[in-house]
Symmetry: C2
Subunit: 440 residues, 2 copies
């Protein structure tokens, strides 16, 4: 059968992986797709690298705009990344009637609504399995595997760099800065690690999952984003003593607020009970936990990055697109299972309205009455305490740490309580506040 022609934008790590997996497993992939999938053209600024990787098996160019206009190309794979030229190329490809496969989470989280709407108008597909959690087929699971369910929430370890750093900090009791340097040396963190360590990358991904799960548009600008660069190893240790492990989670949850539907969308270091499977996901691995009303909790685990794991997702999309290429657009799986009218019905809730439990650490003077003052403030904000430890002050030390776990409450109540607690003269430092999720 006639091959389907793929044009590849960007022959870096993932592009190279895609090229080599596609050729290594050609027979099996052809059988699964129903016809051969051929990368016939590659565009990259580094022509020499492109020639080296393709070794004469694909045409090579440095003109990406010519590639997306090439009438022989059926599917464009965008592996450039970022919002700049990648956005222009994807929009051009769609305008030219090409299907698009992309691993670009930043692009989709920020410009996804515009892209999907253009694709819908042109009747082409935009597939993006590789944009979330690398090789784990989580987009397919949420969009096709759990279609029976009203999704209630999704919580995911969706950034390998930060999970590696947190694993190392816990394992070796090291500080964030020391472990970050190690991660950079090992290639788990980039030279400028900001997007990863400040939670931006995870926020891109949870924004996409939120849109998929709840049929709402991408609303990256409404996400609450907190990274791990300020995390103190002491809090990791105290959490452990209380039976919790700290992970950087992307969380999105459907909730009622004053009788109306809303969606929480947030990324922050989170205490999770150690007995949960997801709490035991270590190193650079990713895992996503999805709670549906019929199926209960399901978990998906695997490599979230790397050349071949990401290529695995890109090629799965190529096979899907190849299969559906000839099908009537209305019978294809919709990009986001988008529900018209859902925008007004289901807004992203402001952080102040988030409902969860909290870990609070207070540095206080070690003298009578301190605890009474603090618990009175919490009670006034209707925050009830689930567990508490007070560190024994060392010989000659006049200050100590109090760690409290709260029951479910609202962020705004905790904000108010913390402001009052920090105003107490016996409280010596900013209160450390981390959020907790039972996830079960």
């Amino acid at each position: 059968m006639k091959p389907i022609n793929v044009g590849l934008l960007g022959i870096g790590t993932v592009g190279g992986g895609t090229f080599s997996v596609l050729s290594r497993n050609e027979a099996e992939i052809t059988r699964r797709a129903g016809r051969p999938i051929r990368i016939t053209k590659v565009a990259d600024k580094n022509l020499e690298l492109a020639r080296q990787v393709t070794a004469g098996r694909a045409e090579v160019t440095d003109d990406a705009f010519a590639l997306v206009a090439d009438p022989d190309i059926d599917i464009v794979v965008e592996l450039i990344g970022g919002y700049g030229v990648a956005r222009e190329l994807v929009m051009q490809a769609i305008a030219n009637g090409k299907h698009v496969v992309t691993a670009n989470k930043a692009l989709l989280a920020v410009h996804g609504n515009e892209i999907f709407s253009a694709a819908h108008e042109k009747g082409v597909m935009v597939a993006f399995e590789a944009a979330v959690a690398g090789g784990i087929p989580i987009v397919k699971a949420v969009r096709e595997g759990l279609t029976a369910n009203r999704i209630q929430w999704i919580a995911g370890i969706i950034n390998g760099t930060t999970n590696f750093i947190l694993s190392e900090m816990r394992d070796k009791g090291l500080s964030f800065d020391v472990v970050l340097k190690e991660a950079q040396r090992l290639g788990y963190a980039e030279a400028d690690p900001t997007f990863d360590i400040e939670g931006v990358d995870a926020a891109h991904k949870i924004t996409i999952l939120s849109a998929l799960a709840f049929g709402i548009p991408m609303q990256f600008d409404k996400a609450h984003i907190e990274g791990i660069s300020q995390l103190d190893p002491d809090d990791i240790k105290y959490a452990e003593q209380l039976g919790y492990r700290i992970k950087l989670l992307g969380i999105t949850r459907r909730r009622q607020m004053n009788g109306k539907a809303g969606v929480e969308l947030r990324v922050h270091p989170t205490l999770i009970p150690t007995r949960r499977l997801i709490a035991n996901v270590e190193g650079a691995m990713n895992a996503v936990l999805v709670q549906g009303d019929a199926v209960g909790a399901t978990l998906y685990y695997g490599k979230g990055a790397g050349a071949e794991p990401t290529a695995s997702a890109v090629i799965a999309d190529l096979v899907d697109v190849t299969r559906m290429h000839t099908a009537d657009p209305e019978h294809r799986v919709p990009h986001l299972a988008f529900q018209p009218g859902a925008v007004e019905d289901t807004p992203i809730l402001p952080l102040a309205e988030v409902e969860t439990s909290y870990y609070l650490r207070l540095r206080v003077e070690d003298k009578p009455g301190v605890l009474a003052d603090i618990t009175r403030i919490l009670a006034d904000q209707e925050i009830s305490i689930d567990a508490m430890i007070q560190r024994e002050p060392e010989e000659g030390e006049s200050q100590t740490d109090i760690i409290m776990l709260t029951h479910l409450t609202h962020e705004k109540n905790v904000d108010a309580a913390i402001a009052k607690i920090e105003a107490l003269p016996v409280v010596k430092k900013q209160v450390i506040r981390l959020r907790m999720e039972e996830l079960g």
Copy 2:
């Protein structure tokens, strides 16, 4: 849009769950399927139960053969179970041009080749997500999510009853018989638990996964099946001391043997390193680990049984079938990604050719030279020892236990070694042999 009409065979636990989830989440399911999915007819011998569950919203009959012949029905959902009348009804439904959705692993593992070949001829779909690991979308993951990969092996905890029993045996140090009774009381095990505890149910499921992963026909009759009813709590305890946990795994692996391809297909209690995520799957939960050459290991975890988790998978299939109903059969995802000619190329290997590591427990007289005799026999069979513990004999005891972990070897070598070891006069009991898998 015109609804698609579904006829339901069997309104027991899963049938009732399917009916209620479909009506509870009607709006979201309709949106995802592109058109409404309606159960218009239900066949069950228990007419009263059927009337009660459907409450006037579907026609009720006790004539299942009339249902599968009804020209108004587009999809038949088979939830009767077993190989008997279920097989006849499925074959009839296919002959009448209906698509079929089934949760019946026994039927597919034993008669799947016949059923898929009939479906292929009639151009209808047979979907079976619910047949393996309940609500976990593992069939979709293997068949569509990992299409880029050459699957190397699959190992799964795919029977909740036995996993519950093993968790309890380990947790509480109880014997198999005691825990089985508790499982029966709690509804985790049936009155006649044979299919579950002897590994037959897990073997049905791993047979299906093996066919999916390797594009080979169903070959249930070639599976090696060993259950957990003979498992001694002592071995669970010794395994723990060595850093392993015992799980009933279904395992299928592609391997070279004398330069030719072959497939291992087996179910048995298996030692897994405790640090692996899958070793920490407790209670009645299921988890499947899939190793692909590009993606590496991915894991899928969730509820493997129960009314609504299973209904979740049945309905996901209904949505898929509804979407693909109008598509040209050759563009649909093939039932098994079956590769013509693969039968001769890739046989199921006999157990003697299985390659793995072993846990051996020997009851021996506590006297000099015993260990030398045993290690000599192992060395003669080219079996090398990875770790060993010898239990300290208690006061006045003349016998003790030796536990050995071997490196990779072949089952036939271990058979030969055990025969010779058991012939030694100092060896007082049958040698306990369990298989180990590193899974990483």
